[in-house]
Amino acid sequence: MLGATVREAGADDAVSGVKPRWVALPETVEEVAAVLRACAERDLAVVPAGGGTKLHWAPPPERCDVLLDMCCMNEILEHAAGDLVVRAQAGVTMDALATALADKGQELALDVPFAEGTTVGGTLATATAGPRAFRYGTARDLLIGITVVLPDGTIARSGGKVVKNVAGYDLGKLFTGSYGTLGVIAEATFRLHPLPADRRWITAELDRDELPPVAAALAASQAEPSAAEVDWPDPAGPLTLAVLVEGTAAESRAEALRGLVGKGALTGEPPPWWGLISNDDVLVEVRFPATGTRAVLDAVAGTGLSLRGSALSGRVLLESWGAIGEPALAAAVSAVRERVEGAGGRVSVLAAPYASIDRWGQVSGLPLMRRVKEQFDPGRRMSPGRFVGGI
């Protein structure tokens, strides 16, 4: 009746320790709708899953009856190379997408780590950004159309497959970063970029104090870096800065930027840590205006966490090297928050195996967000409790 395959869930299907009863494996948008309608009729809670690489991010769901596994929706529906646009089902992995696009000399300019298994839908639903967000923006900026299925089974579309389009509300923006709490992302259309003709990295070791002025100079440079990442494994020591230059004249522009940094090696390959994290059992995202760089570095220094992320777009991730206990993490998070929120920044605990951590901190539009949730999911059946304010 559903069309979709449904199997009984096993221990491996648990979402942050909450074990669903069933796993549904839809193959089409209509099947997703049928599953959600059936769940609505029986008041079953649903958690959508892509590759499952980040299912432990965000708090555990309050309840989960059905895990909606999107893995079978893995078709690239349309790649209009001449229009620099691709439309794909949500279960397509970012790897498969990149390979198909590279064949035509194009890319979706998102840097997605853990590329193995990571899906289009999961990437959108979690929407954090990698190194090149400085130049290309984040998932929300590259998404131009979306098909979603609401908790009652309604299939809705917004945007389209042209880049320039202002007809109607942009549901794609709402679903990007919604952690599966509004409905299921079924298909997405992105704008693409030509693969850069050339790439160069400048890598240099800096003291903590050297970074803020160098970052400011890079951001203002007309040689236009695509990204500048810092790696600071041990906040007692120096940090490594790596700057990426892309385009037809990458080599000469990289030389110009090396002048700004004042030192460093020039390579055609990224450093091994570029755009990756070593471990996301505990992962804290810090976002801040550019002038907050120093405050963030100072705040992280005493916490025992290590830092990796962008020196330009004000987004870094904090990881713990070894095990970190609940009180230590809570203290670290509030120490960083104290320095950063005052400067207009925000600290989100993306992943942590602890229940009592304040994951999201200050959220200005929370009452409006609750109203959005109530409208889209009045039965609180979609990933309940997984998002800001217990949404």
Partner: protein, 478 residues
């Protein structure tokens, strides 16, 4: 209404509440003069707090309100309600903060788009989205319409350049929507909502660093097909120019008549291609571009800002210029995938011949954003109707080719009836969920964007005839 006006007067200085019928007429339409309505009352608040109080009063009296910036909108978005309040932001014109270290500026909604660039140009920065109306249009209006411009091919629209907005929600609360906040991207939903989700009272925009080099090229082709092929070849070569604009023979004729732009004689199409970025990169892209445009019979390169302005002059004046060659015209705004441009332009040609209506094409070729100017003589009986038919048929063409009914001018009142052609009922109902979250009473710019929205709280589904709640007078439909 009289009690509401009295209440408004107690909130605002005397000259900030307009009820004089003659002065009210100034606000009866926006750039789309075809739709007119005289507002019951116009207010000109000075502060966000005043906007919030006005909106709260509107709630108390269950009266609809409409925001208005500079009134340059081309879709009737700021068309007032005869039974409502028009809230004009023209007194809220302060640039509150310029923070180059963080590459951003905080401004009031009535600030014009160009004023932001002017405030930072000396220091090597600018505000990237540049609608042709940038000298007058307000940043609040830009946020509401998610405006674009010639350079959004490379730099994106307003939504990509807004970091935060303080808004007055339709219930009158002041709320900040910030890209930095975790949670739903309400800022993304608000931008482009055409005043239906509240009023922006403070906007934080991102400033961009001026590029090291700008090279502007004008390429003249014998036919529009050749021009179209050049556009595809440029994109195909992996070049993303800052802008690629195209004009056909009729548009060139108009521009020539109006501003004597001296485009190459006998051109069936001209392309304006602007490359910008690091000098070394622009140099190489320019070499590629020259190769690609080898079929052009003339290629001009602007060597300095004056020459660049000369190249842009014809393009920038094209809209106003058609007035020289036609007594009346409709400016259409539709989008098609770039690769469909040749077939869509040919189809527009056929429509034009079939209905005996001339169509001049001036457009953002890089984004496939068409602005056909549908020309007619309003003294000729039936001509206006035929022009309407052609104009509507062009939108159908856009939808057929997987495009959009608007690329930058918005839906407003003008195109709400086309929304069901582009979106299903379920799509539109789902968009209404956003509306219901922000504006459950439907007081904020009602009647715009959506043709017949359902009531908040009503389950979606097929509806025929008047809703019983409406019929019984228990609820209003917005």
């Amino acid at each position: 209404m009289d009690t509401l006006v009295a209440a408004l007067r107690s909130l605002l200085p005397y000259d900030s509440v307009i009820t004089d019928p003659v002065r009210l007429r100034t606000y009866e339409c926006d750039g789309l003069t075809y739709h007119r309505a005289t507002p019951a009352v116009v207010v000109l608040p000075d502060t966000a707090e005043q906007v919030a109080r006005v909106v709260r009063l509107c709630n108390d009296f269950s009266v609809p309100f409409v925001a208005r910036g500079s009134g340059t909108g081309l879709s009737g978005g700021a068309l007032p309600r005869e039974d409502g309040v028009l809230i004009v932001t023209s007194k809220m014109r302060a640039i509150l903060e310029i923070d180059l270290d963080n590459r951003r500026a905080v401004v009031e909604p009535g600030v014009t788009n160009l004023a932001i660039t002017e405030a930072v140009r000396d220091r090597g920065y600018y505000y990237a989205p540049d609608p042709s109306s940038q000298q007058v249009c307000s940043i609040g209006g830009n946020v509401a319409e998610n405006s674009g411009g010639a350079h959004c091919l490379k730099y994106g629209f307003t939504v990509n350049h807004v970091e935060a907005c303080e808004i007055v929600t339709p219930d009158g609360d002041l709320v900040t929507l910030d890209r930095m906040d975790p949670g739903y991207d309400l800022l993304g939903a608000f931008v482009g909502s055409e005043g239906t989700l509240g009023i922006a009272t403070k906007i934080t925009v991102r400033l961009s660093r001026a590029p090291q080099t700008v090279t502007t090229v004008l390429a003249a082709f014998e036919s529009i097909e050749q021009g179209g092929q050049a556009v595809s070849a440029i994109i195909g070569a992996g070049i993303v120019p800052a802008a690629i604009e195209m004009m056909d023979a009729l548009a060139i004729e108009a521009a020539e008549a109006a501003v004597a732009c001296r485009y190459p004689e006998g051109a069936g199409a001209v392309l304006i291609v602007e490359l910008d970025g690091p000098a070394a990169e622009v140099e190489r892209q320019f070499a590629q571009l020259t190769e690609i445009c080898s079929g052009a019979f003339e290629l001009r390169v602007a060597a300095d800002p004056a020459e660049r302005a000369a190249i842009w002059k014809g393009r920038k004046s094209a809209f106003a210029a058609v007035g020289r060659i036609s007594p009346a015209y409709i400016v259409q705004d539709g989008v098609v995938p770039r690769t469909s441009l040749p077939s869509v332009l040919a189809a527009i040609d056929r429509l034009s011949a079939e209905h005996g209506i001339r169509v001049a094409n001036v457009f953002h070729a890089g984004d496939g954003n068409l602005h056909p100017l549908v020309l007619f003589d309003d003294a000729e009986p039936g001509a206006g109707e035929r022009a309407e038919v052609v104009s509507g048929a062009i939108l159908d063409l856009c939808i057929e080719h997987g495009g959009s009914i608007t690329g930058e001018h918005g839906v407003g009142v003008d195109k709400s009836r086309y929304m069901p052609r582009m979106f299903s009922e379920a799509d539109l109902d789902t968009m209404q969920l956003v509306r219901c979250a922000f504006d459950p009473r439907g007081l904020s710019n009602p009647g715009k964007v959506f043709p017949t929205p359902r009531l908040c709280g009503e389950a979606p589904g097929v509806r025929k005839g008047v809703h019983p709640l409406v019929e019984s007078g228990k609820a209003e439909q917005f």
